[in-house]
C-alpha cells in the first residue's frame, strides 16, 4: 500500500507539471462555454422538407402549418421546390396534387434514397392526411411503451455524454502514453526495475491518478452544463471504471513503442475508431454489429442514461465496465511485466 501511495503521489506530481494538464483546464472552460452558449438547445438534426400543395383542398399545406412549419418551407410552385432543393442538397421537396380522384405525391431529392426510405417518407406524409379522406388511422394496431415516454433532452446537454466519453474518459489513454514516454526518456523505468516496487503498484498508481483526474474533470464539466441534481454514485462509478479501463489500454498500447512519434499513428487511429459510436449516438438507427463491439458504444449510451434517466436498468453497464477494467488490468499487467519491465535487458 505504501508503495502504491508513493507512486500515486509521484505520478500525480509529474502529471500536474505536464503542459497537457493546462490544456485540459483550458479545454474544460471551452467545452463549458460551447455547451452553454454556442450549441442551441433545440437544434433539429432531421432533414429539411419543402412543400408545395397544388391541390384545391390544401390539406397538405394545412397539416404542414399545423406541424409548425414556417412560410419559408411552404412554397408556391414546383419550380420553387426544385430551386430550394438544389440550393440545399440535404433537403427533400414534396409536391402534392389532388385532381379529385386520387391524391398524388412527388418526392424530389438529391442522390439515391433507398426504396424502403422513400416508402417511409410517403407513409409519414400519408398518415396525417388519411382523416381528411375518411380513411382509418392507427386502428389496426396498438402502441405500447416499455417505460414512461421521456421528454427529449436539449441538444446542448445531449452533447455532454459524448464529450465525457471521448474527452474525459479517454484522457488516461493519451496521458498514460505521454507519462510512459517521459519515463522512458528519463530512464525512470530502468531505475524502477531494480526497486522492489513491482508491476501492480506501477499500473494501479497510474490508473488511480487518471481516474481521479477524470472524475474531477468529468464532474466539473457536468455540473455547470447539466446541473447538480445527479445520480452521483452511478456517475462516479462509471467515470472511475471508464478512466481506469482506458488508462490500462493506453499503457498496453504505449508499452510497444519507444516515443510519442512512433506511438502517434497507432494511438490516434485507435482513438478515432473509439470515436465512431458517436455516429450511432447522433443517428440511433445506425448500429451495425461492429460498432456495438467498440467499448465506447455502451459507455456513451450508459452515460446518457445516468445523466438523463429514462428508467433503464444500469446493472449491465456496471458489469460491462467492471469486466472491462479487470480484463484490461490483467492484460496491462502481462504487457508491463513481460515487455516494459524487461526492456533493454
Amino acid at each position: 500500500m505504501r508503495r502504491f501511495l508513493s507512486l500515486f503521489m509521484q505520478d500525480l506530481v509529474v502529471v500536474s507539471r505536464n503542459a497537457l494538464m493546462w490544456v485540459v483546464v483550458g479545454a474544460l472552460v471551452v467545452i463549458i462555454m460551447v455547451v452553454l452558449f454556442l450549441i442551441p438547445a433545440d437544434y433539429d438534426l432531421e432533414d429539411t422538407y419543402y412543400f408545395y400543395d397544388a391541390s384545391k383542398t390544401g390539406y397538405l399545406e394545412e397539416e404542414a402549418r399545423r406541424d409548425g412549419l414556417e412560410d419559408e418551407f411552404i412554397l408556391g410552385s414546383l419550380e420553387e421546390i426544385e430551386e430550394a432543393v438544389q440550393a440545399d442538397p440535404g433537403s427533400i421537396g414534396i409536391y402534392f396534387s389532388d385532381s379529385g380522384e386520387r391524391p398524388q405525391i412527388t418526392i424530389l431529392h438529391y442522390g439515391t434514397i433507398s426504396d424502403q426510405n422513400l416508402n417511409l417518407i410517403a407513409a409519414a406524409l400519408e398518415e396525417p392526411l388519411r382523416p381528411y379522406y375518411d380513411l382509418e388511422t392507427g386502428d389496426g394496431y396498438r402502441v405500447e411503451y416499455l417505460r414512461p415516454f421521456s421528454a427529449p433532452v436539449p441538444q446542448n446537454q445531449n452533447a455532454v455524454p459524448p464529450l465525457l466519453a471521448f474527452e474525459v474518459i479517454v484522457l488516461g489513454f493519451l496521458m498514460a502514453a505521454v507519462l510512459l514516454f517521459q519515463e522512458k526518456a528519463d530512464g525512470v523505468n530502468r531505475a524502477y526495475r531494480v526497486t522492489p516496487g513491482g508491476t501492480s503498484p506501477y499500473i494501479l498508481a497510474k490508473g488511480a491518478v487518471f481516474s481521479l483526474i477524470g472524475l474531477f474533470y468529468g464532474l466539473l464539466m457536468i455540473m455547470p452544463t447539466v446541473g447538480v441534481s445527479l445520480n452521483y454514485p452511478a456517475l462516479i462509478l462509471a467515470l472511475i471504471l471508464g478512466c481506469f479501463f482506458y488508462t490500462c489500454l493506453g499503457l498496453v498500447v504505449a508499452a510497444f513503442f519507444n516515443n510519442i512519434s512512433e506511438w502517434l499513428f497507432v494511438g490516434i487511429a485507435l482513438l478515432m475508431v473509439n470515436m465512431t459510436p458517436i455516429i450511432s449516438y447522433g443517428w440511433p438507427s445506425f448500429s451495425p454489429a461492429w460498432i456495438t463491439y467498440i467499448p465506447s458504444y455502451p459507455i456513451i449510451f450508459g452515460l446518457r442514461e445516468i445523466l438523463f434517466p429514462t428508467g433503464r436498468d444500469l446493472t449491465s453497464l456496471y458489469i460491462y465496465l467492471a469486466a472491462a477494467a479487470i480484463l484490461s488490468y490483467l492484460l496491462c499487467h502481462l504487457v508491463v511485466h513481460f515487455k516494459l519491465m524487461r526492456e533493454g535487458r
Binding site: 503542459a19 442522390g111 400519408e126 388519411r130 416499455l146 514516454f181 438507427s285 448500429s287
Partner: protein, 335 residues
C-alpha cells in the same frame, strides 16, 4: 531562394527519418478512404424493426417494404432487442392484435416513422401512390461535417507537419546553426510555410479526390488552398513556436484542433442570427470557402467574399503569431 530550397530538401530528409510527419500525411488519406467506404451505409440508414416471428408472413413482407426487419422467435426476445441502446421499435402480436413497442426514449422521428409504417401496413386501403425524382448528387449534414472536417484536417496537418520540423530543429539545436547562416528568420519562416503548403496541397487534393472524385471544381480548390497559405503559416508558427518538444507539441495540437476544426463545425448548428460570433475567425471563412466548393452556394456570403476574408483575417492572425513566437523560433542573431 537557394537557402529556402536547401531547407526544404532538409525537411524531406527529416520527414523520411521521423515517422511522425509521414504518419501525418498518410493518416488523413486513410481516414478519407474509410469515410468513403462507410459513408453510404450511414446515409442509407433507415428504420429497423424488431419483429416477432408469430406475426405472420404477410405483415413481415409488408414491413420489409419500409424497414430493415429483424425477426425473433419470442416476444421476450423482441422486448430485449427494443431495450438495447439503439432506437429500434418492436412489433409483436397480443391476442391477435398487432402491438407496436417502443422503449420510451426514442427520438420523436423514430416514433412517428414507426406509427406511420404500422398505419400503412395495417390499413385496408392506401391513400396515394407516389413517385420520386432525384435531381443531383447526394448530400447530408453528416456528409458535410465529415468531408469538411477531413479537408480542414488535411490543411491543418500541413502546418502541423512543418511545425514539427521546427520543433525537431529546436530539439537537435540545428536552429542555432541556422541562426548563424545567411538564411535569416524571414526566409526560415517562408521555407517552413512553403513546406507546409506543399504538404497541405498534396494531402488536401488527395483527400478531395478520394472523397468527391471529379464532382468538385479543382481549380477553385487550388485557389482555396493558395488562399489558405497565411493561415497555414500561422498554424506552423503556433505549433513550432509554442512547443519545445514533441510532448508539448501534442498539448499545443490538442488546443489547436478544437479552435481550428471544431468551431467552424459548431457554426453549422448555430442559428443564422448568431453566426456573427464566428466572423472574426479566419478559419470560419476558410470553412465557408471550402463549403461552397464541396456543397454548393448555401454559405455565408459567396466563395470570393469568404476567400477575401480568409486572406485578410489570416494576415492579421499571422502578424500576431509572428510577434508572439519570434523569440521562440530562432536564437538571437537569426533576424
Amino acid at each position: 531562394m537557394k537557402a529556402i530550397l536547401n531547407l526544404l530538401r532538409q525537411d524531406l530528409a527529416t520527414a523520411l527519418r521521423d515517422n511522425i510527419v509521414l504518419y501525418m500525411i498518410v493518416s488523413p488519406l486513410l481516414l478519407a478512404l474509410l469515410v468513403r467506404l462507410f459513408l453510404p451505409s450511414v446515409e442509407a440508414t433507415g428504420l429497423t424493426i424488431a419483429l416477432s416471428g408469430q406475426v405472420g408472413d404477410d405483415l413481415t413482407a409488408a414491413l420489409e417494404d419500409y424497414a430493415v426487419v429483424e425477426i425473433f422467435d419470442t416476444d421476450e426476445e423482441v422486448v430485449a432487442r427494443v431495450e438495447q441502446n439503439d432506437a429500434v421499435p418492436g412489433v409483436i402480436l397480443e391476442e391477435g392484435e398487432v402491438v407496436l413497442l417502443f422503449e420510451g426514449n426514442e427520438p420523436e422521428a423514430i416514433i412517428e416513422a414507426g406509427k406511420a409504417v404500422l398505419t400503412a401496413v395495417t390499413a385496408p386501403e392506401r391513400l396515394f401512390e407516389y413517385e420520386a425524382r432525384s435531381i443531383g448528387e447526394s448530400s447530408s449534414l453528416f456528409r458535410e461535417i465529415l468531408i469538411l472536417s477531413l479537408i480542414m484536417l488535411a490543411l491543418l496537418l500541413g502546418g502541423v507537419a512543418s511545425g514539427f520540423n521546427i520543433i525537431d530543429e529546436k530539439d537537435t539545436r540545428a536552429v542555432s546553426a541556422l541562426a548563424v547562416t545567411p538564411l535569416g528568420l524571414h526566409r526560415y519562416i517562408i521555407a517552413r510555410t512553403l513546406g507546409a503548403v506543399i504538404v497541405a496541397s498534396l494531402v488536401t487534393t488527395g483527400t478531395a479526390l478520394i472523397l468527391s472524385g471529379t464532382a468538385i471544381n479543382y481549380l477553385l480548390l487550388t485557389i482555396a488552398i493558395a488562399a489558405s497559405t497565411l493561415i497555414i503559416a500561422a498554424l506552423t508558427l503556433t505549433v513550432g513556436g509554442f512547443a519545445n518538444n514533441q510532448v508539448s507539441a501534442i498539448a499545443v495540437i490538442k488546443v489547436l484542433m478544437p479552435i481550428y476544426l471544431a468551431l467552424p463545425i459548431v457554426s453549422l448548428f448555430v442559428p443564422e442570427r448568431w453566426q456573427l460570433i464566428f466572423y472574426p475567425l479566419p478559419n470560419y471563412w476558410q470553412f465557408q470557402m471550402l463549403r461552397s466548393i464541396f456543397f454548393g452556394p448555401q454559405i455565408t456570403g459567396s466563395f470570393w467574399m469568404a476567400l477575401l476574408l480568409t486572406l485578410l483575417l489570416s494576415w492579421a492572425l499571422l502578424l500576431i503569431m509572428l510577434r508572439m513566437t519570434r523569440g521562440r523560433l530562432m536564437p538571437a542573431g537569426g533576424g
